[in-house]
């Protein structure tokens, strides 16, 4: 079966600085794939390049059999991709409810209630906080809202950029649990960018290691977790 998302030789630049140096990556339908790497390795850039902002300069990005390399961001986001961006970026002065409505904007009100109930099932806290302004939520709740907001567009592929950023271990476990549950119950495909390599590799079916804008290692999550060089770089002395 053809993969849901396939990147071949993707490069990306910020001005004159090359952030991605020919990345190959595949995500099959129903998989959780994680992309780990140090600060500045290009993880978030890769995520943004898939979404077309910045566009890839070379290479090709195929999603669901279609070449999306040169499409504008808003069109890509209408094709069943959703992103929970780095740093959460929820709408602080708008209520939780309004944030969720914003997430549903690309699909309109089709299946709105059902999707919302799915999100509330994953994160009951959001239901309690429905009328509260996004900016008044705790960090963990904001992350739940960012994921919930992305899910409101009923995506087939969910891109998660550092959902564990700045959160307490307990909350991280809760959020990773939700991702696993989502993948098992609805078959949602997830591409997860993480610095928290240990948690991410345990969750993911497969993983990629990004160093200086290039993939240096790839393989099943458990296998990568056992590799001594990964342990040394990202798990033991890494943080």
């Amino acid at each position: 079966m053809a993969p849901l998302l396939k990147l071949t030789g993707v490069t990306a630049f910020y001005g004159a600085i090359q952030a991605l140096k020919g990345v190959d990556l595949e995500v099959a339908s129903g998989e959780i794939v994680t992309l780990i790497g140090a600060n500045g390795a290009g993880k978030s850039t890769l995520m943004m390049t898939i979404c077309g902002s910045p566009h890839a300069r070379h290479g090709q990005i195929i999603y669901d059999g279609r070449d999306i390399t040169a499409l504008p961001t808003h069109e890509i986001m209408h094709m069943g991709l959703a992103q929970s961006p780095e740093g959460r970026r929820i709408f602080g002065r708008m209520t939780v409810h309004e944030n969720l409505l914003m997430g549903a904007q690309v699909v309109g009100m089709r299946n709105y209630a059902a999707t919302r109930d799915l999100v509330f099932g994953l994160f009951p806290r959001l239901k309690e906080r429905l009328t509260q302004r996004g900016g008044t939520l705790s960090g963990g709740e904001q992350q739940m809202l960012a994921i919930g907001r992305a899910l409101m567009s009923q995506p087939r592929l969910l891109l998660l950029d550092e959902p564990s950023l700045g959160l307490a271990p307990l909350v991280v476990r809760q959020i990773f649990g939700a991702i696993r549950q989502l993948n098992r119950e609805t078959g949602l495909t997830v591409l997860l960018v993480e610095q928290n390599a240990f948690q991410a590799l345990r969750l993911a079916h497969r993983g990629y290691v990004l160093v200086n804008g290039a993939v240096t290692m790839a393989g099943p999550g458990a296998e990568l977790l056992a590799r001594p060089e990964i342990r040394a770089a990202y798990l033991e002395g890494g943080h």
Binding site: H74, R89, E98, V106, R149
Partner: protein, 426 residues
């Protein structure tokens, strides 16, 4: 030395420097031109007042326990009174022509024009978060499109009104395109330049716009084809009443009162459209755009379209207000569309509290009405006016009505004061 005393002395010194030329010297025109009269006593009084004023303020502050929250009573009062303040203001606006004289109605027209401009700009600045310093450009486009259409093709006010709105919207989009990538300060500079460009074009394209002489003899609006003229007869307001058997006396107030209701209607239309838009996807996208553009992109919002519609719809209302301005004055010239107009409208929106409809209306009343009320104070008018603005910003740094009303309410309103929520970036 006591730090408070030191601070007060420095303040007095600053006051001396500032007021030295402003209060200490007075120009008087004599037989051979202007000559200066020194006024040391007045200057001394001002400096002493600043010294003791500062001292009192510092002592009062020092006596308050540390960490005391700024007084939020005013905000709470406005918020709580909002429920009946809105209908009360609306009722007052509707009955004003019956209870007030010519002066009151004229002032009402002026205030309502700014309320409408404020509400129009509020769409761009308050909702979409795009700082526009050249809003007066659309006001000018509306005024000139109506004046030129009326003069060239002999069209009436009601035909030209939608056209003026349309032209302004077109210019809104034209401004929108080049500034799509700009935010914050950069956007402000370009919009500022845009406002000036429009004015200078109007000034220099003399063959079309009449240049600095402006355009005069702009037709007055009619009420279902009835004109307000002293001559009476067929086709006039008084003539109509005569023909149905209730003859009434002509008075110019009838025309002014009619104009008043036209601008009231236009302003309420602006408000209604804004309130409707806030509840649909587009309005929500504007507000989301103000909060975070990157997040908007990641949610599949077409940022280009969203920004352009904000500019276009905001400009439309500016244009409608401009057409009204032209018909009310019957004369327009580029002088009416200077940067200060943009600044006043922006001040109204900011003082009112970005995004708040009630706040904008209140601020327009305070700014424009207050300016008129202070007229009796002659020389001290600007001083008091400035003081009032400073006081509002000190007491209510986020505007008179700073809370954002959620566009969807679920049963009970549970919300946390806007003071505790971080300001949106950009």
């Amino acid at each position: 030395m006591n730090p408070n005393l030191k601070d007060a002395s420095i303040s007095a010194l600053v006051a001396l420097g500032l007021f030295g030329p402003m209060i200490g010297l007075k120009t008087e025109s004599g037989s051979i031109g202007l000559f200066l009269i020194p006024r040391p006593l007045a200057l001394a009084a001002a400096v002493v007042a600043v010294f003791f004023g500062r001292l009192l303020l510092l002592t009062w502050r020092g006596q308050r326990p540390r960490g005391t929250q700024t007084n939020h009573k005013l905000a709470e009062t406005i918020k709580r009174s909002g429920r009946f303040l809105t209908p009360a203001l609306l009722t007052l606006a509707i009955v004003l022509p019956f209870i007030s004289g010519r002066y009151g109605i004229d002032l009402g027209i002026l205030v309502l024009t700014y309320v409408m401009l404020g509400w129009g700009l509020n769409i761009v600045v308050g909702l979409a978060g795009l700082l526009d310093l050249g809003y007066v450009a659309f006001y000018a486009v509306g005024a000139y499109s109506f004046a030129l259409l009326a003069q060239t093709f002999g069209l009436g006010f009601w035909t030209c009104l939608p056209l003026a709105g349309l032209f302004a919207a077109t210019w809104g989009v034209m401004l929108g395109f080049p500034v799509l990538r700009l935010r914050g300060d950069y956007l402000a500079i370009v919009t500022l330049a845009f406002g000036e460009i429009i004015r200078i074009v109007l000034l220099n394209a003399a063959s079309i716009t009449g240049g600095p002489n402006g355009i005069s003899g702009i037709p007055r609006p009619t009420l279902f084809g009835l004109q307000f003229t002293a001559a009476g007869g067929h086709g006039s307001f008084t003539g109509f009443f005569e023909s149905i058997g209730y003859p009434i006396e002509y008075s110019p107030t009838q025309r002014v009162a009619f104009l008043y209701y036209v601008i009231l209607g236009l302003a309420l239309l602006t408000n209604w459209v804004t309130l409707r838009l806030r509840r649909v996807a587009l309005g929500r996208a504007w507000e989301a755009l103000r909060e975070d553009e990157v997040a908007c992109r990641s949610l599949g919002i077409n940022v280009t379209v969203t920004k352009l519609t904000a500019f276009a719809i905001g400009a439309t209302f500016g244009g409608l207000a401009g057409a009204f301005f032209a018909t009310r004055n019957a004369f327009i010239s580029p002088e009416s569309f200077t940067f200060i107009e943009s600044a006043i409208v922006l001040a109204i929106v900011v003082l009112g509290g970005l995004g708040s409809q009630l706040g904008t209306a209140l601020a327009a009343i305070v700014m424009i009405g207050g300016f008129e009320v202070f007229r009796d104070l002659a020389d001290y008018r600007m001083l008091l006016f400035g003081l009032a603005l400073v006081l509002i910003m000190v007491l209510r740094p986020r505007g008179l009505v700073s809370g954002r009303t959620p566009s969807v309410a679920l049963g009970r309103r549970r919300e946390i004061s806007a003071e505790l929520v971080a300001e949106g970036r950009g």
